[in-house]
Every structure is written in structure tokens, then in C-alpha cells.
């Protein structure tokens, strides 16, 4: 098949793992890469960077749209949907997307960056030869024992 394959990174949500979805993906020559369970919050670019800015902006946008809807006698549910759409378009900029992808280490693909992120988020210190590394491992084990 000429051209690069389409690689889709997603979590292990049941709807994403159905046989129907897999069949369709294979037919279209798209790879569905499932991120590890309970690791999607730090390995997924969308969780790491995209949905964060959406939250404060949508709060402000919603107030404006709701106020307009109430004054015009329109549905507030519709106003909230428009506010969500507005917020998504405003906060999802290329810089944010590329930064999130780079932070998670998926592109450019960096194994040390992904492992460092996994270690940091799971509170596991990587073992090493130096005294500082050993102290880090002991501290991590101590914290894990307390938790």
C-alpha cells in the first residue's frame, strides 16, 4: 500500500474495542493503538494538553451564551452546546496540539520521554547506579507502602 499508514491512538474504552470497529479499521488499513489501561491520562495528548484549556474557557463562554439565551427566551441547553463549540474552536490551536503530542513523547517518538512520564505519574523511581537513584527508589517504595 503506498503512502504512510494511519495510526490512531486511543484508550481502552469498550466502544473503541468492538469487533465492528476493528474490522472497519483493518479494511481501511488503519492501525488502532490501544494505550495501556490507567495510563491514558498521561500518555494521551488530548488528556495531557487539549482538554485542559477547554475547561476554564468554556466556563466563561457559557455565561455569555446563557445570558443571551435567557434574554432572548431561547433554550439554555442549546446555548451551552454553542458555548462548548465556541470554546473548542478557540482553545484547540495547532501550538497546543503539537505541544501536547511532544509532551507525551508520541511525536517525535521518544521512549525515554514516555518512560519518564510514566515513572513520574505513577510515582515509581527508575533504578540506577548512583546513590541518588537508590535514594529515589527507596523514597518511592516508602511512599507506595504508606499509600
Amino acid at each position: 500500500m503506498p503512502g504512510p499508514p494511519l495510526t490512531l491512538f486511543g484508550d481502552q474504552f469498550s466502544a473503541h474495542m468492538s469487533t465492528d470497529a476493528l474490522k472497519r479499521a483493518l479494511k481501511r488499513q488503519a492501525y488502532l493503538c490501544r494505550l495501556e489501561a490507567n495510563a491514558s491520562y498521561f500518555l494521551q495528548p488530548e488528556n495531557a494538553g487539549l482538554f485542559g484549556p477547554l475547561h476554564p474557557f468554556s466556563r466563561r463562554a457559557n455565561e455569555t451564551y446563557i445570558f443571551d439565551a435567557v434574554m432572548a427566551g431561547n433554550s439554555t441547553r442549546g446555548a451551552s452546546l454553542v458555548a462548548a463549540y465556541h470554546s473548542e474552536r478557540r482553545t484547540t490551536i495547532p501550538l497546543v496540539v503539537t505541544k501536547a503530542v511532544k509532551t507525551t513523547g508520541l511525536w517525535p517518538f521518544s521512549i525515554p520521554a514516555i518512560l519518564a512520564r510514566a515513572h513520574g505519574n505513577l510515582g515509581v523511581a527508575p533504578g540506577g547506579q548512583t546513590a541518588r537513584d537508590q535514594a529515589r527508589v527507596m523514597t518511592a517504595e516508602g511512599i507506595a507502602a504508606v499509600l
Binding site: 494511519l6 490512531l8 491512538f9 465492528d20 470497529a21 488530548e46 477547554l54 451551552s80 501536547a100 508520541l106
Partner: protein, 161 residues
């Protein structure tokens, strides 16, 4: 957990080393629900039904829509899908009172947004399959991934004369 992540990295390294991948061919998709909590609009992670939240929710929230975004590693968004809730009757049909309202114009940058309805307001397997087809179609148009047929037909056509 670290072992699982290491295993995933091994598989991913294998894929990336055996295929020619570009930032335009790597994509991440995830679903987040947009809810109204109190008086403010906020986002909430979509959790599987069998997994209850860690703490009891003290505030009532109503889901406005569930947003599924396909973000490309090159920095663009391919499509975003809004999943809304509707009560379907027999034969899978339902009347929905819905009006598309104009939102404030922001920039010239745009990507297609789709609206669809399900029983529970969240993505199900059937809908996800259809969304996958749509994503593949859009991606092929944007990246002009040609099939062997389309590559060879014009070449062979020149020999017909």
C-alpha cells in the same frame, strides 16, 4: 504498570520502525463529556459504566454533549464529533427538537464538526465504527493516500492509445 507501558513501547517501536510514519499519519482520539455543573460548563472524563467514580458526586450535573476529537500529531484537528442524547422509539427513529445556532466567528482555521444522537448520549460501538470510516475517508482525501489501482491506472491508460 511500568511493565505494561514498556510492552506497549516495544510494540509501538516495532510498528514505527517497519512503517513509514509521518506526523500527519499519527492521530489521537478521545472522548470527553461536556457537562453543566451548577451554573458553569465544564468537562468530565468518560468512565466505563461498570467503574463507579471514586467519590460520591455532591453536585448534580447534566451532560450537554459528548465530544470526540481526532487530533493529528502535525497540529491540526481532523474532525470533531458531538454526540447528543435522544430517546429513540421503535424502528430506531426519533423526533429531535434541535436548532443549529450561529456561534461567534473566531478564525479562518476550521475543521468539520459533526452532530449525532445516541440513546445514552455517549459513543457506542456501532457509531464509533461509522466515525472510523469517516475519519479514514477524510484522512485519505487530505493526505491523498492512493490505492494501487489509482496509481497505476493513469500510467496504464497512456499505453492504450
Amino acid at each position: 504498570m511500568i511493565i505494561n507501558v514498556t510492552g506497549f513501547l516495544k510494540k509501538l517501536t516495532e510498528i514505527l520502525s517497519t512503517h513509514h510514519c509521518t506526523p500527519a499519519s499519527e492521530m489521537n482520539f478521545d472522548e470527553t463529556s461536556i457537562v453543566v455543573k451548577g451554573e458553569s460548563l465544564t468537562t468530565q472524563r468518560v468512565i466505563h459504566a461498570s467503574k463507579g467514580p471514586a467519590n460520591a458526586s455532591l453536585t448534580c450535573s447534566s451532560t450537554v454533549a459528548s465530544l470526540l476529537t481526532f487530533a493529528v500529531a502535525s497540529g491540526s484537528i481532523l474532525i470533531s464529533v458531538y454526540v447528543l442524547k435522544a430517546k429513540f422509539k421503535e424502528y430506531g427513529q426519533s423526533c429531535v427538537n434541535f436548532v443549529v445556532k450561529p456561534a461567534t466567528r473566531i478564525t479562518h482555521r476550521s475543521w468539520p464538526g459533526y452532530l449525532c444522537w445516541t440513546d445514552n448520549g455517549f459513543l457506542n460501538a456501532q457509531l464509533f465504527g461509522r466515525v472510523l470510516n469517516l475519519v479514514a475517508e477524510k484522512w485519505e482525501v487530505r493526505n491523498a493516500r492512493a490505492s494501487p489501482d489509482t496509481v497505476w491506472r493513469p500510467v496504464l491508460g497512456s499505453y492504450e492509445h
